[in-house]
Symmetry: C2
Subunit: 492 residues, 2 copies
C-alpha cells in the first residue's frame, strides 16, 4: 500500500496564523493549543483522565462541525429548491448520539444491515425514509426491512428474488430502488469490469420485467453510485444526465419513479491542513447547483448518501506520546493510539493529518539530534508499524518526512479527520479496549460512548465450561491491577 509522503514545515503551521480554515470548529490557536469549539483539547484530555480509568486514546467530536456539514448540504439543496432526502450513511459512524443529532437535523438514514436499521430506529430515524443498501442482504434482514417499510436498493436479480419471497411471506409490499451497474452510466471513469455493484444491462431489463408482474414490489426509484466520494463536478453532472435518461425510459414503461439516488456525497480534503497542499475539492454547493435544474426538470426527489462529508472532519483521535525513538535514519514518535482505532491508513493508504495538541516542552529535533532550533522530520501516519505477517499494536510515526516539534512524553497528539470509518471499524486487536467517544457542544463536553473494559473483552467466553478454572487461577495469584493511574504516571 503506497503511502504518500508530503513535505510539510510544521513550524509554519505553528506560527501565529491558524493553519486550517478558520471555519473549522477544531483549530489550532496562536500559542499552539488545539481547540474544539470553545474548549482546549488538552484540558478535555486531562478531565477525561480524571474521570475514567481508560482515558487514552479517545475520539473527540465537534457537534457544531456536524451541524455545519449538514447545513452545507441543506442550504444548497434548499436554496436551489431541490426536493431531497439527505441520507446519512450509518456505516461511517454509528454512534447513537451522533445519529440522534443527524436525525434532529433532518437527515434520513442509509443502512447496510439489520443492525444498522435497528440502531437508526433507536436514534429516531423514520424507517420509511431509510434506504437499505448491500449486495448480500439476507432473508431475515430483508424481512425486518420490509416489515419496517424501509426502501430497498435492489443490487442483483437474486436480491430481487429474495425481496419478492419475503414480501409474499409477509403479504406486505416493498418499495424498491434499482441500482444500476456503472457500465450503464457510461461516463463513469471506473474500471467497470471489476465492479460488483448494481444491475447490469440485461439484468436490469429482466428485473424491470419481474417487478412489472409482481404486485408486492413497487419500483419507486433508481440508484447509481460512482463507488467513490465525489471530487469532480462535471463527472457528477454527466452521471446525473445519464440517470435522468434512464428515469425517462423507465417512466415510459409505466413505473412511477419518484426517487433518484445519486449515491455517495462529496469527498473530504484530508490534506487541507497542509499549507503547501494544492489539493482542492469542489464545495458542496458546486455539486448541488450543477444538478439542481436537471433534478427539478424531472419532478423527482434526489437522494444523497453522504458519510465522510457529514462526519469525517468532525472527529479527532486524541492520543498521548509514549516516547520518541530513532533508528539513526528516521525518528519515530510512538503514541498510545494504534491501527485498532484508525485503520484507514493501513487499509487503503488514507492520509490522516497529525498535530500536537499542545506546545512541546522540549523544543525541536532534527533527525534525532536534540537541537532547540532544529526540526523533526515526521512521516505520515500511514506508516503504521508492521511486518508482512504481523501487526504491532502501537502506531509509530516515522520522523523522516515532516518537520514537527519534538514532543515530550505524555504530550497530546491528535489524528485528524477520524469521524468516518474509524470508530465504526475499530477492533480489539492486541486486546486493546475500544476507546471512549466524547462530544463537544460549545463550552461543554460529555461522554457519548463508554470505553470498553477488560470484562467486555472476556465476555464472549463467559459461560463456557472451563472459565471457572481460569477465574480461580487469576483469583489465587497475588497479582492485582496496576495501582498507578494511567494519566498520573505521565506527571513527573
Amino acid at each position: 500500500m503506497a503511502v504518500e509522503l508530503l513535505k510539510v514545515d510544521y513550524r509554519t503551521a505553528l506560527s501565529s496564523k491558524p493553519n486550517i480554515s478558520t471555519s473549522s470548529n477544531i483549530y489550532m490557536t496562536g500559542d499552539g493549543h488545539l481547540f474544539c469549539e470553545n474548549l482546549c483539547v488538552k484540558e478535555i484530555q486531562y478531565e477525561l483522565a480524571m474521570k475514567t480509568d481508560y482515558a487514552s486514546p479517545f475520539y473527540l467530536y465537534s457537534r457544531a462541525q456536524i451541524v455545519d456539514n449538514v447545513q452545507q448540504y441543506k442550504r444548497s439543496l434548499e436554496k436551489n429548491d431541490v426536493p431531497h432526502l439527505l441520507g446519512y450513511t450509518v456505516s461511517a459512524n454509528y454512534n447513537l448520539e451522533i445519529l440522534r443529532i443527524l436525525q434532529k437535523l433532518g437527515c434520513s438514514a442509509v443502512v447496510a444491515s439489520i443492525n444498522e436499521i435497528k440502531i437508526a430506529m433507536m436514534a429516531g430515524f423514520n424507517p420509511n425514509m431509510m434506504v437499505y443498501n448491500g449486495n448480500g442482504k439476507q432473508l431475515n434482514e430483508l424481512e425486518f426491512a420490509v416489515k419496517c417499510g424501509v426502501m430497498i436498493n435492489v443490487d442483483s436479480l437474486f436480491d430481487l428474488e429474495h425481496i419478492r419471497k419475503v414480501c409474499r411471506m409477509l403479504h406486505k409490499k416493498a418499495n424498491v430502488l434499482m441500482r444500476l451497474h456503472p457500465e450503464i452510466d457510461s461516463d463513469s471513469s471506473q474500471d467497470i469490469t471489476e465492479t460488483k455493484f448494481g444491475l447490469h444491462h440485461k439484468e436490469f431489463d429482466k428485473a424491470l420485467q419481474i417487478v412489472k408482474e409482481e404486485d408486492l414490489v413497487d419500483l419507486i426509484g433508481l440508484h447509481c453510485h460512482l463507488e467513490t466520494t465525489l471530487d469532480d463536478v462535471q463527472l457528477f453532472k454527466e452521471s446525473l444526465d445519464t440517470m435522468l435518461f434512464w428515469v425517462d425510459k423507465v417512466r415510459e414503461m409505466g413505473f412511477d419513479i419518484r426517487y433518484l439516488n445519486m449515491g455517495e456525497g462529496i469527498g473530504l480534503n484530508y490534506k487541507r491542513h497542509i499549507p503547501q497542499s494544492d489539493e482542492i475539492l469542489p464545495e458542496t454547493k458546486d455539486f448541488i447547483s450543477s444538478i439542481a435544474e436537471g433534478i427539478k426538470s424531472k419532478n423527482i426527489c434526489l437522494i444523497l448518501e453522504p458519510g465522510i462529508s457529514i462526519v469525517g472532519n468532525t472527529g479527532i483521535l486524541v492520543t498521548k506520546v509514549v516516547g520518541v525513538k530513532t533508528n539513526e535514519n528516521k525518528n519515530f514518535i510512538v503514541i498510545d493510539g494504534s491501527m485498532a482505532e484508525v485503520i484507514r491508513p493501513s487499509l487503503y493508504g488514507a492520509y490522516h493529518h497529525i498535530q500536537l495538541i499542545e506546545p512541546t516542552m522540549v523544543g525541536y529535533i532534527n533527525q534525532g539530534s536534540h537541537s532547540p532550533n532544529g526540526s523533526a522530520r515526521l512521516q505520515t501516519i500511514g506508516q503504521w508499524s508492521w511486518s508482512k505477517a504481523l501487526l504491532w499494536w502501537s502506531l509509530i510515526l516515522s520522523a523522516e518526512d515532516y518537520y514537527m516539534p519534538y514532543p515530550h512524553e505524555g504530550c497530546g497528539l491528535a489524528i485528524r479527520d477520524v469521524g468516518a470509518y474509524c470508530g465504526s471499524m475499530s477492533s480489539n486487536y492486541s486486546l486493546r479496549q475500544r476507546p471512549a467517544e466524547v462530544l463537544v457542544e460549545g463550552s461543554r463536553w460529555r461522554i457519548i460512548r463508554h470505553a470498553e473494559v477488560f470484562d467486555d473483552i472476556v465476555k464472549p467466553f463467559i459461560g463456557l465450561p472451563s472459565l471457572g478454572v481460569y477465574k480461580d487461577y487469576i483469583d489465587t495469584t497475588e497479582v492485582h491491577l496496576g495501582t498507578l493511574h494511567p494519566w498520573l504516571t505521565w506527571m513527573h
Copy 2:
C-alpha cells in the same frame, strides 16, 4: 493492493483424491464434503444454526491441528535437544480455550499489552515465562508486567527508562531482553531504514551501559526478529550466527545472557491447497536442525514466538452463499462473511483459499451461463467489495479467475486458514455481530466463543443520558424482530 490471481481447476480439486495434504485435520472427502477431524462441517453448520440465533458465519477450529502444530515444534526441539521456550504469540488468536490448549501443551505466551498478559494468565500461562513485546508499552502496563514477573523485551531507550522508573517505584527487579535493530543483524534482507523495532547500534551500547549501572534491571537475553514469518532456512541460520556473536560480546561485558529470542516462527503456506501451486516452504524441522548446534554451543535457551504457524491453519470461517451475480464480465459469489471477520486480504493482500463445504446442487457455471458441464471462474477472496472511500459489508468473490462449481443459495463456503489474525482483528463494521467460535475435538464439537448479540453492540451507549428516549422510541414502534430463523429461510 495487488491481488494475486491463480488459475485453479477446482474440478480437479474435487475429484476423488483429496486436494490437500492428508495430514491436515481439515480436509475434503472424495464426495465433496469438507470435514474437520471426524465431523462434517456442513453438519456442524446445521447443528449450530439449530442451537443459536446468530449462526453464520462462524469460525471453526480443529483441536488436533493445534496439537499437531505444537508437536512439530516440540518434536524437533526435543529431538535436537535444544533448550527452549515456545512462546505462542497471543495477538494471533486470543480465544481463551485455544490459549488453554496451548498452555497445556507446554507453550509459553508472548504478549503485546496488559490485557494480553491478563488473558494469558487466565488461561494458566506462567507470567514468569511470558515475553512482553512492543514499542509503546505504557507505564501502567509495565507496572503490571513487572509485578507479575513477565520478561520484558526492551525496544528503545525510552522503553528502558520507563522500565527502570517502574522498577524503582515498585522496588522490584525486572528481567529484560534487548531487541536489536535488524541493522545489527547484518544478514537481514529487510529495508532497515524503515524499521521501527529494536535498538540501534549506538542505542544498544548506551542501553547496556544503563543496565550495567541499574541494580533493578537484569539483562537476561537478546532478541531479534526478522519482521516476517520465516521462509528461508539459510537466512534464519545466518541471523542466528550474528546473534550468537552478540551473545558472546554481551557476555564478555559481564551480563548473564540466558535467553536468545529469535522471534517469529515458521510461515504458513496459504497456497498449499492449490494443486498447481509451486510455493514450497521449508518445514519446522529444517529450521530447528539448522540452528540446533549453534544454540547448544552457547548453552543458551532458545525462545521462539510463533503465531501463524501454531494457529493459522487450524481455523476456517464457515459462511453461506447468499447468491451469485454477474456483471457479464465476472461472476460474483456473494456470501454472508465479510472483511469484518477476515480482514487480512484487504489489509495486506493475503491469500486465503476458499472451498465449498458441500457438493453443489446446481452444477457448474462458465462465466454466467448455467451449463451443467461448464465451470465458474472465481477470483481470490482478496477481491473484497469496496470503493475508494467506502467498504461494503459483504464479501464478494469475483468468479473470473477460478474454476469452481456453481454454488446454490445457502451452500456452505469455507475460507481457509483464518486461525491467525482474523478473529483477533475482527470488528463490528456495518454493525455486524462478531461470530461464534467452535472447536472440534475428534467426533465432538463445542462453542468456545459466543457470538455477539445486538445488545453487545449497543452496550457502550447504555447509561448515556438520552438512551431512554431511544429505548422508548423503539419500544413504541410496532416493529419486532424478524420471526424467520436465519437458517430456515434457506430451506426451500
